[in-house]
Each structure stands twice: as structure tokens, then as C-alpha cells.
Symmetry: C2
Subunit: 267 residues, 2 copies
């Protein structure tokens, strides 16, 4: 079975020693599949986990049901070892599950309300960018608010640079350029972000919170939800920091992103 339980001695469970991907699948065809596989492979390289036979992975999306699905792949290092030292012969363990997905077109069109999180991301270049199973920072940040009107929370690193949202990458348009934070020390390098580098002139940049006030527009995106404009930004106490007039925004990044995902672009 694809999503069967994982034994007590699995290192993914014991130490978060593994990786995951959440893939948008439409009628059995995965979106941004090469980007997902590239990130999984890079994660395996960094953690020293054997990358599964690609052909076996390639067969999974077709097993998802009809319509729009999210396929979650979970790859752990496998069982055992003496404490933190992995066994030399660890056999990676692969699990997967598909679930129907419904996107949120109103968020594509009208944008979202976003807050600044209090938690700051720790710096760990060895783990930055990859989608490993050590996600407590994201869990803690997401627990900071419960108001359903707030769609996402922005996270900075400990030096005050804006990095990402809890489960989406951040983009902005400023001075005629599309930019997104560099993710060399923390953050997850999303596959939609990776795909956008191939179709848009997108620059990596490190900026403090000033950029949130100076940018002409802010956008959040990932490979499942697509791209949402930010319509309003509040601080962690809920005080409004800035509004944007969403109807007047340049939607070119959203258009490129939605072309990659097969989503429409709001008029």
C-alpha cells in the first residue's frame, strides 16, 4: 500500500530524517514534476539519502484520481541506526497519498491579508532550500494566528531579512524588477519559484522589511495554490501596516506562474 504506517524505528519519525514533496496533479498529470524531482534529488544529496529509482517515482502521479489532486510524497532515510548515525545500509522508505484539491480563485483575483510573524527563522545553510521533514519552525509560526481572514504569515531571518511565508514563497515587483528572497541560509525553495526562474526575469535579493513598504506589489506563491497578490499587511498584533489596490497590479508574474500550473489568470 502506498500510505501504509511507518514503523517506530523509522528515522523520518525519530529525527525528521527525510524529505517530502506536495505535487499538484491534474487528471493524472503532475505539474512542475521536474522541479519536484530536482528538489527531492538535491535533498537526498544533502542528507546523504539514496534517491529512489526515478522511474518508480514517475509512475505515481498517474495513480492519483481524476480531476485536481495533491500528491504528497514522503521519503525517509529508513529504519534504524545507533542514535543519530544513520546505518550504512539504510533502505529509504517511500510513502505517498493523493487527496482531491480545490484552489481558491477569489484569492487569485482579490488577494489576501497577510501578517508578519514574530518567530524568526534560524540560519542553517546545510538545510536551507530543501524540503526536509524538520518543519517545527513552520508549525510554530503557523500557530501564531487563528483568524481565518489571515491567509499567510511572513517570516524573516534573525538578521531581519524577509525570507518567505509559512508555506509559500514571496515575490515582489520593485523598481521595474521581479524579485524573490535568496534562500541560502533558511527557507524552502519552492518548485513554482524554481519554475518561474525559467520563464520570467526573476532576481534573488536580500532585503529587510523596508521592501514590504517600498515594493509596488507583493505576491505569495506555491506549486499547489498558485499565486496570490497581497492586498493588506498587518503586524503580529493585527495593526494594519499597508494596503494595496489589487485591481491595478501588474499580474505578469501570476500569469507566468498560472501558465505553469494550468490555472486561469483573473481578468
Amino acid at each position: 500500500m502506498s500510505d501504509e504506517a511507518v514503523p517506530f524505528d523509522d528515522r523520518g519519525l525519530a529525527y525528521g530524517d527525510g524529505l517530502f514533496e506536495t505535487v499538484l496533479v491534474r487528471d493524472g498529470l503532475p505539474l512542475l514534476w521536474d522541479e519536484h524531482m530536482a528538489r527531492l534529488q538535491e535533498g537526498c544529496r544533502r542528507l546523504g539519502i539514496a534517491f529512489p529509482v526515478r522511474r518508480c517515482l514517475d509512475e505515481l502521479p498517474a495513480q492519483s484520481g481524476a480531476g485536481l489532486q495533491v500528491l504528497k510524497l514522503l521519503l525517509t532515510r529508513g529504519s534504524g541506526g545507533r542514535g543519530y548515525l544513520p546505518p550504512a545500509d539504510a533502505e529509504p522508505r517511500l510513502r505517498w497519498r493523493s487527496a482531491p484539491f480545490v484552489p481558491q480563485p477569489a484569492r487569485w483575483a482579490d488577494g489576501v491579508r497577510v501578517r508578519l510573524c514574530d518567530l524568526t527563522l534560524g540560519s542553517q545553510p546545510s538545510l536551507a532550500g530543501i524540503k526536509h521533514l524538520n518543519r517545527l519552525e513552520n508549525v510554530l509560526a503557523r500557530q501564531e494566528w487563528s483568524d481565518p481572514e489571515i491567509a499567510e504569515g511572513l517570516l524573516c531571518d534573525c538578521r531581519g531579512h524577509v525570507i518567505e511565508a509559512t508555506s509559500m514563497n514571496l515575490f515582489w515587483f520593485r523598481g521595474g524588477r521581479w524579485e524573490t528572497p535568496k534562500l541560502k541560509e533558511c527557507g524552502v525553495a519552492g518548485t513554482l519559484r524554481a519554475g518561474l526562474f525559467g520563464v520570467l526575469e526573476l532576481h534573488e535579493a536580500m532585503h529587510k522589511q523596508d521592501v514590504l513598504f517600498e515594493a509596488e506589489s507583493l505576491w505569495l506563491g506555491n506549486s499547489v495554490q498558485g499565486v496570490w497578490p497581497i492586498a493588506s499587511l498587518v503586524d503580529s498584533a493585527g495593526t494594519l501596516l499597508r494596503n494595496w489596490s489589487v485591481p491595478s497590479l501588474d499580474r505578469s508574474l501570476q500569469a507566468e506562474a498560472h501558465a505553469l500550473l494550468g490555472y486561469p489568470v483573473p481578468a
Copy 2:
């Protein structure tokens, strides 16, 4: 069953959203049990996980076999939730397993060879001290060496302060004082370390690597292995940095630690 498998949607597996303890148990009686329960409770408080009924936990050590055992407790937030946001009604999942344990008296007596790790620990005050399931830093650091003659690796934070070893706390004797690193930004606050504060004048201090060369002695300890003197220190390339004459060392910290664990003190 105590150590049954964990479902695909368990958040401990998905995000490392949980905690663990490894407890030394002698003939059904746990050592440093109050310290283990205090750390688990503090971990639950920080992550927002309901602490299990203490009476149920208290019954587990007696179920371990005769002789010396290590009881591993694993507590996850439970199943489900929409991405990183935990479900409001998450039911924590507890698993445990005992395994026979054999300590290493030669390491107590003669000490160990230790290396400096290249990996530096990220700073995350929200997670520092507790024994959560996000342990990839420890796994990566432990993968830096395979030489069985090297017993442990020392880790510094990104500002160069000495913090801990991959699975043990660090102590030193210097200028007539016993000291151990402060663990406010990273590291795991061991239960043996916690117990030692009650029986020894032990001071928390932040020092860079200079302290490794200035200290009269260095010691590693945890609640399972007891306390090992460091006999030699090498850099990450294997070059010897310093030796200690172990037979001449003041063993008072080891004596107090081993009294807490029921281990003998080498002559």
C-alpha cells in the same frame, strides 16, 4: 501495543512535530525520571501539545525488562491538520520501546577522543533546550565522521560559541569552577545536566573555542551513557589539537553524575 507503527498523517512523521525522551531504566526503575518528565512537559508547553496524563507515563518504566534498559518515549502531536496548522482537537500519540543497554566503563575511566564538527547549530530560541523531533542538525553533524575511535563531535553556534556534542552535553572545569554552555538559542538541555545543577555548583557560560584549550578538563555526559572525560581533541581534518592526562583529573562532576545514574566512579 507500545511501539506500533505510526500512520502516514502523523505530524511527528510529517513535520517532526513532537518530542522524545530516552530514559535509563534499571530493573524497572527509571533514573532522572522527574527531569525527563519536566523536559517533556516543557516541550509540550512550547509546542502547544497536550501533556499526557502523568500517571500513564509513570507506569511505563516498570514495563521495561530486567537489568539495564533504555526506554525511548516518542510523543507526537497526533494526526492531521491543514498543512502546518495543527488541528484544534489534535490527539497526541504516544509510543515507547525498551531495549537492553550496555554502558562503556572504559570510556568512563580512560576518556574519549572527540572532534570539532564543521556544522554550526542554527539559532532558534523557540526550540532551544527541548528534545523535539527536528534533529537533522544532529544527524548531519554525526555523519561528518565514521572513525569508531572518535566518540563524539563538538558543535558550536553560528557565532562560534561552544554548545554541546551531537548527543551529549559538554562540561568543563576552569579556574576552580564547573561550567556548561547556556542553551538559550540552540542545543538540547540534557536531563543529566539538569540533575547536576541540583547536586553540584555548576555555572552556565557562553565561551568560544578558546575554552577548549584553557579548561583544565572537558567532560561529556548524558542520562544514558553517564560521563566521559575528553582525553584528546582533534579538528575536523583529524589533526590533534590537545591531549589531557585523564588519570590526574578531578572527577567530582563524574562522581555526582554517576551517583544520579547508579553507575560506579572509576578509581
